[in-house]
Amino acid sequence: MRDVLQWREPVPLGGTMGEPRARGRFGEYGGRYAPESLVEACREVDEEFREAWADPGFRGALARLLAVHAGRPTPLTPAGRLSEALGVRLYLKREDLTHTGSHKINNVLGQALLATRMGRRRLIAETGAGQHGVATATAAALLGLEATVFMGERDIERQALNVFRMRMLGAEVVPVTTGSRTLKDATSEAMRHWVGATGDSHYCIGSVIGPDPYPWMVREFQRVIGDEARGQCAAELRTGVPDYVVACVGGGSNAAGTFAGFADTPARLVGVEAAGGAGAARGRLGVLHGCRSLFLQDDDGQITQAHSIAAGLDYPGVGPEHAHLRDLGRARYVTVTDDEAVGAAVRLARAEGIVPALESAHALAWVIRAAGDGDLPAGSTVLMTLSGRGDKDVSTLKELL
């Protein structure tokens, strides 16, 4: 399938991924469409985050946790054999090498520190693939907090190992049996639970979705990916900045964090969605889970179920800032199929000795396809965020291969 949306040329100056406009707006998207009972809680998170983010003490404490606990900085790995085969110069930002195995830990450590600063004793989280749930359980254990993780029953079945990891870390995992029994429904259930628990609990949203300030706050906590990669590219590349910056997009947190490091450069930004969960590429304007953005909907305005082999991309919408970057033409959003993603995972394993998460394999699948059909000109430098490692997907892959 050909992608319809292109970058605007030259790359527009807007959309440099700073603070959102008044009322949490990214262009016409974002906002705080929360039930009245959550509005005050959102305001408190916003106020506390602004203070903390301006506080060198908080920044220092977070940087230290990211270094000594999560293993940052993560390396930039040249994908030598694959680059040669594809005719481009591909570099991988290795979020798969963080503690807990995905970029999710960056955001969770930030929010968990924020929660302790706010005097909260418990974290609430939703999870799809289980990576955000595992990261939340980990951060809670590290900081002496409780954790309650909502997870769709269907995801519990296909991500059994992550469920066990969360429980071993001391978290309570609550199965969600409504709707499609995946990430969308787990998010709804976590929000419902938060309404009754705002006094002692912080809702630790795992992606750049939700009511203001979450899309902005989560992007800022993930910005470390892009900032590190920017510095590493400056040292590694003759041009200093890659021609293309590529990341997979479910809600869009690893992409937002990566893009944030390059938004003010001429690099072309590419978000890769699952063909069955392409909120940015095929969604229409709507409001869900507290924000105004692009969501997959039927002709009556009901949210439709996303379908992806990668549980972390099984979300029928996209973060509001991605919707805005799309409208600006600053980033381009493309889709790949389950089969392409599985093929890419195998290819990375055999060419580079890295088994990626199926989510991250989507980003690579686009690089492979685009290098083949000339969408990526020969000789281009490409930075791709490898958002997570593939251990959690081994049983899924075993069925297929």
Binding site: G31, V39, I303, T304
Partner: protein, 276 residues
């Protein structure tokens, strides 16, 4: 200065008039399209002494609803319910020349369905179907600008919700901008039946009363005559949703619901006869 009662829309005038006779207000809820002949419930509610009826337009992701309304929404959607069909049913339930229900209808839904056709088309469709008010639980007052004027122009009274967590200055803004009545959310939680009326209900209604004389209806968790009676001591009336829909989901027909709502009606009437 115009008195608020004179500037009020039809729903608010109706509720104020009933309240001013000392009557406790009763607004039962039904999920539109829950059964093929669901509009029969409206007539049963009116016969039981409802003062307004809330008609839910089901949404796939009802993030502020507990299990009962979630199930009701799923069931209605599985029957093929949609905003368009429900509004067509409503228009058909009050054919020209036939006696009206005599009770104002208030639609409730999530903002995605309002945005889907655009606020103007959505409000115009409500109006054509004979709906007078609208409740959107995920549209808080600070995001409501886009809908407020459009709704007013279409003759739709946009009801805003107030919560126990709402600070007092914001409560004043909500009460000032709400139309029809102020929907007081009795507790920090989702919709659904509860064993007792939450303590936060009295505190919240007290705070709303300090800033408005608009009718105040308490909702969330009010499911028994005793709870309705207690709620009436604080508010002008009650919204009863999950307790109705649990019965409907269990197979209760319009006549059963008429009998159930009559017990609530009686409780509200008794409470207002008591010396206060």
């Amino acid at each position: 200065m115009t008195s608020p009662a004179l500037a009020a829309g039809a729903v608010e005038r109706h509720l104020r008039a009933r309240r001013d006779t000392g009557r406790g207000l009763l607004m039962p809820y039904v999920t539109g399209g829950i059964t093929p002949g669901w509009t029969d419930y409206l007539r049963a509610f009116a016969a039981a002494g409802a003062d307004a009826i809330e008609v839910g337009l089901p949404f796939s992701d009802p993030t502020l609803d507990g299990v009962t309304i979630q199930q009701a929404s799923e069931t209605a959607l599985a029957w093929g319910a949609s905003t368009r069909r429900i509004l067509a049913d409503l228009a058909g339930a009050r054919p020209p020349g036939q006696p009206d229900l005599g009770v104002p209808l208030v639609a409730s839904t999530y903002y995605n369905l309002v945005l889907h056709d655009g606020p103007e088309a959505f409000c115009a469709a409500l109006r054509r179907a004979g709906v007078g008010g609208l409740i959107v639980p995920d549209l808080p007052v600070h995001e409501a600008d886009e809908l407020t004027d459009v709704a007013a122009a279409a003759g739709i009274e946009l009801v805003l919700l107030a919560s126990p967590a709402t600070p007092q200055p914001r409560l004043a803004e909500i009460s000032g901008r709400s139309r029809g009545f102020v929907y007081a959310v009795s507790l920090m939680g989702t919709t659904g039946e509860r064993a007792a009326l939450a303590a936060s209900a009295a505190e919240l209604t007290g705070r709303i009363r300090r800033v408005t004389d608009r009718p105040v209806l308490l909702g969330f968790g009010i499911s028994t005559p005793d709870q309705a009676r207690e709620a009436r001591r604080h508010a002008d009336g009650v919204v009863v949703g999950a307790a109705v829909m649990r019965r409907v989901l269990d197979g209760a027909g319009p006549e059963d619901l008429r009998a159930f709502l009559a017990t609530l009606r009686q409780a509200l009437d008794q409470e207002c006869d008591r010396p206060r």
